[in-house]
Symmetry: C2
Subunit: 498 residues, 2 copies
C-alpha cells in the first residue's frame, strides 16, 4: 500500500510507525502489529501503532529515526506492506499456553528483545508468561546463555571471583569492603555493579563518590590488570542487555519473576568470566525475601544454575530485616566504607563484609574451610585492604588520598528523635529507603540518612534516631514529613498487633 | 520536579509523556509508569514512556493533546510528580498471581481500560493473565456487566430478539436473511454487527452495500420503531467499548481468551437489551473451533452467562468446515442475500438461515417447538422477508428498490479451474478469506470471490472452481498468485496424509 509519509520530529528507542486503524486492518497489520516500510530501495521493519483519529487514512506517521534510515521526506509516497510477526512471538504464545521452550526458541526471544524487535504488548506477554507459568531449570539455563550471548563478554583471565547481593537492604555496601580484601589476597575480582533504580544508592552510585565508574571494555581491562580489581558500573559495558529491557516491563507491574532474576544475575557474572561466586541473600521482614524456605529454594537454584554454566556458586543467607551500616545514600555510604577500611566504621557492615569475604576466599580455594573469616579480618586489620582500595580508586582515575572529610554531605540536616523510651525493635528498610530518596538520594550524592541506632539499642525519649541530610530545604522538608508519616523505627516490645 | 516542556506535534489516543530515564528513576516514575503533569493550576495524569537518549534530563516530551489541556508552551517550566499506579494495576497483578477478582476489582480494571488509564504493558498483562489463568463464571459475569456499564446502553423495549455468530466461516451472511424473517414475524430485532478485522467482510460491511449502517442512538431508535429491525454497525454507537481495546492487544498475540470472548458477545447484546439470543457456533477444520467438545463447553458457558444477565440464550452448533454461500466479499455477499430473499440464492445459505430463524422464533415463544423452521420458510417463500428487508433498507436511508444487478462487482476477474477430476473434498475457509482480502475485500466492496462449487460436488479437469473479482489488476494478480500457492480447494478422496 502506498502511504504518504508524515514526519514527526521525535526519535524513538525502537522503530515505530503510526497508522490509521482502517489502513492497518486492510493490510492485516492490525493483527501482526508490524510493517515493512520501503522507500527507494531501502527498507525497515517497524512496529505499527494504530490510531482511529490522529493519522488519517492514506498517511503514515514516521519518526526521525526512520526518516533518516530511509532518507524520506514529509509528504513522500512510501510503500508499506504488512510484515510477518517474528517467530519469537509464536514462542511467547507457546509459553503462555503452558509449554516449555527450547534453547533455540528462548534465544530467538532474547535476541528480538535486545534488537528492539518486540512491541511493549509482546514484551509484556513474555514477562507475564514467564511469571505465571514459571521456567524449568533447562529454560533458565537457556535464558542465561542467551542473555550472555546477546551482550558484551569480557575475558579477565582465569580464577575470577565475584560476589552478588540480591538487594533490598538499605546501606549494605559490603562490596566496597569485600573487593579490596579479596584483591589484596591476590585474587582477581572485576566487580561490575548496578546503579539504584528504586533504592537510595547502588554500589556504582556509591563508588562514584570516590572515583569514576563508567569505562569501556579496554579501560576496564587496564584497570583490572593494574589493581587486580575494579568497582564499576556494569551498565556502561552492555553486559546482558536483555535484562534492562525486561526490568523496564517488570517494574510497572511490580513483577519479580524468579526465572528472570536468576538468569539476569548469573548472566552478568558469566559475561565477565566469573569462576567463583558468592551470593548474599538477605531475608527478613522488609527484605525482598521474607522466609527461609524461599531463600533456600532460591539458593539451590542459583547453585544449580551456576553449575550448569561453569560457575562455583555459594549462597549466604543473611539477616536483611534492618539496614546494614549507618549511612544511607551514596556519600554517606562511601564515608562508612572508608571508615570500615580503617576498621572504624559500623560494626555490622564490617562484620558482614568479613563473613562474605571469608566465604569467597574459601570458595576460591585460597584458604582452607573455616579459615576464611580470620584471613579476611587479618587483611582488613593490617591495612592491606585500605591500601588496595586506594589502588583501585587510583586505577579508576580517582584521588587515592581521599579521606572521609573530603566527602561532601548535604548541608541541610534534621535529626529525628525518639518519642519513646525502650529498645529499638525494628527498622524498616523500605521506609528508610523512601525517606533517603525523598531527601534526594541517589542523584544528589550527599543526600540521605545517617542512622544513630541499630535494632536492639536502648533509647530514651529525645535520643537521636537518625539524621536526614539534603542539599535543598524543600527536599529536606519532604523527607522529614515522610518520616513523620511512616515512622521507620519502632521502639517497644510488641512484635505484631493483630 | 520542574521539567522543561518540549512539545511534539503529535496527538496520541491516550495521555502520554516522554521522560529521560534518569529523571524517571529519580522520581520513582520508572516504577509506577505514571506522572501528574501540572501547569498553572491545571493537571493531568499521564503514562510516562522513558528514553535513555531522546529526551534530555530536565526535559519532558508532551504531545499536543496534553499541551492543549494544560495550555502549556514549548519551553514552559512545568511541575511533574510521580503518580500512584491506579489500583486496577494491583488487581491485574492479583490475577497474575492466580487469584479470582471481585466484582469491584473487575469493574475498576474495565473502567480504567475504557478511560485509557492503562499502558500497553499493563493492558497486555491483563489480557495475558486472563488467558493463562482463566476466569470463573462469576468473574465473567462481572466482566460482562462492567463492559455494559462502561458503554452506551440502548432501550428498544421488551421482547427484543438477537442473534450472534462467533465467526470464522467465509460467506455465512445469514444475519441479513434472518433479521427480515424475524421482523416480518412481528418480533423486534435491532441487530448491531461488526465490520471485518481479519475477514473479507463483516455483516456491517455487506449491509453497507445496500444502505448506510452508521447511526447515532436516536437515529437507531427511529429506524427500529419504523422497521422493527435494523442491520447496522455496532461500532458507531459505542457498545461495550472495552472490547475493542482488549482486542487491540489480543490480535498481535493471536490470543483468543475465552472469558473475554464470552463477555464481549453477551455485553454487546445486553447493551441493546436483548431478551432472546441465538448463538451460531460453527465447528470444523478451519473454523474457529474444531471439535464438538469445546463447542459444547462454550455453548454451556454462553447459556449460563446469558441466564446470569437475564438473556435466554440458545446455541446452535453448525457445520463451519467450508464457506456458506457463494459470494465472499461485501458486494458478492450482498448479491447472495438479495437472491436468497427471493429464494433463488445459494441453497446452503438459505438452509442455514431458515434453521437459525426458526430456532429464534421458537426461543422467543412466537411458535411452538418444532414449528419454527416451517414458519420461517413460509415467511421467506411468501415474499414477506424480502418486503421487510426493503423496509429496513429504506429506514436506513438506502434505495429499497435495489436489485442484484445494481450491485457493482470488481471489473477485473479471473476464474480458477480444477486440475483434477473427482469430488470436492474440502474448501479451506481461512485460505479463501485470505485470497478474497488479497483481491481487495472488505475495503474494495466489489472485490472478492465467487464460489462455483461446494463440498461434495463432482468436477472435471478444467471445471471452474471459483472466480476472483478485483477492482485493480495488481490486486487481482496478488490474489491469483496466492490461490495458486495455497490451493484452497481439495479434490480427491484423501482426508489426511500423514
Amino acid at each position: 500500500m502506498e502511504l504518504r509519509a508524515r514526519i514527526y520530529p521525535i526519535r524513538a528507542d525502537m522503530p515505530i510507525v503510526v497508522m490509521n486503524e482502517e489502513d492497518a486492518k486492510d493490510m492485516g497489520v492490525y493483527v501482526s502489529g508490524r510493517v515493512v516500510v520501503e522507500y527507494r530501495g531501502k527498507e525497515v521493519v517497524a512496529i505499527a501503532d494504530t490510531t482511529k483519529i490522529f493519522v488519517k487514512e492514506g498517511e503514515i506517521g514516521l519518526f526521525e529515526d526512520i526518516r533518516d534510515l530511509l532518507g524520506v521526506r514529509d509528504g513522500s509516497k512510501i510503500n508499506v506492506i504488512g510484515a510477518k510477526r517474528p517467530s519469537s512471538v509464536e514462542f511467547i504464545k507457546k509459553k503462555l499456553n503452558g509449554h516449555s521452550l527450547s534453547n533455540d526458541e528462548i534465544r530467538a526471544i532474547i535476541k528480538d528483545i535486545v534488537d528492539n524487535n518486540l512491541s511493549n504488548i509482546e514484551l509484556s506477554a513474555f514477562v507475564v508468561g514467564g511469571y505465571v507459568n514459571g521456567y524449568t531449570m533447562d529454560e533458565i539455563v537457556a535464558l542465561t546463555s542467551a542473555m550472555v550471548e546477546t551482550g558484551q563478554q569480557i575475558d579477565f583471565g582465569n580464577n575470577i571471583v565475584d560476589k552478588h547481593c540480591i538487594g533490598g537492604v538499605a546501606g549494605n555496601r559490603t562490596t566496597m569492603i569485600i573487593v579490596p580484601i579479596i584483591a589484596a589476597a591476590g585474587l582477581t575480582i572485576p566487580k561490575t555493579s548496578s546503579r539504584a533504580i528504586t533504592s537510595p544508592a547502588g554500589t556504582a552510585d556509591t563508588m562514584e563518590v570516590l572515583a569514576p565508574v563508567e569505562f569501556d571494555v579496554d579501560e576496564l581491562k587496564r584497570i583490572v590488570s593494574k589493581a587486580n580489581a575494579c568497582i564499576v558500573w556494569g551498565g556502561a559495558v552492555n553486559l546482558a542487555p536483555a535484562d534492562d529491557k525486561i526490568i523496564r516491563v517488570e517494574y510497572p507491574l511490580s513483577l519479580d519473576a524468579e526465572g528472570h532474576m536468576l538468569a539476569s544475575v548469573i548472566a552478568k557474572k558469566k559475561s565477565v568470566g566469573s569462576d567463583y561466586l558468592i551470593i548474599d541473600i538477605p531475608i527478613g521482614k522488609g527484605a525482598k525475601i521474607d522466609d527461609t524456605k524461599r531463600a533456600n529454594s532460591l539458593a539451590n537454584k542459583f547453585i544449580e544454575l551456576g553449575k550448569r554454566l561453569g560457575i562455583s556458586v555459594e549462597c549466604l543467607i543473611t539477616d536483611g530485616s534492618c539496614p546494614i551500616g549507618s549511612g544511607i545514600g551514596p556519600a554517606l555510604e562511601a564515608r562508612d566504607v572508608l571508615l570500615a577500611l580503617e576498621n572504624k566504621g559500623p560494626v555490622d557492615l564490617i562484620n558482614k563484609s568479613l563473613d562474605l569475604a571469608g566465604a569467597l576466599l574459601e570458595l576460591a580455594g585460597r584458604v582452607v574451610r573455616g579459615k576464611g573469616r580470620g584471613v579476611a579480618e587479618h587483611i582488613l586489620n593490617s591495612g592491606r585492604a585500605k591500601k588496595k582500595m586506594r589502588e583501585i580508586i587510583e586505577a579508576q582515575g580517582g584521588d587515592p588520598e581521599i579521606g572521609v572529610d573530603d566527602i561532601d554531605i548535604g548541608n541541610r540536616e534534621e535529626t529525628i528523635t525518639s518519642e519513646h523510651k525502650g529498645r529499638v525493635r525494628h527498622i524498616d528498610n523500605g521506609i528508610i529507603s523512601r525517606i533517603a530518596r525523598a531527601a534526594g538520594a541517589p542523584r544528589s550524592k550527599g543526600s540521605g540518612i545517617y542512622m544513630h541506632v541499630s535494632v536492639g539499642d536502648c533509647v530514651n525519649v529525645g535520643d537521636p534516631l537518625f539524621t536526614i541530610y539534603s542539599s535543598t530545604n524543600s527536599r529536606l522538608e519532604d523527607a522529614v514529613r515522610l518520616s513523620q508519616e511512616l515512622s521507620p523505627i519502632r521502639v517497644g516490645s510488641i512484635i505484631r498487633t493483630l
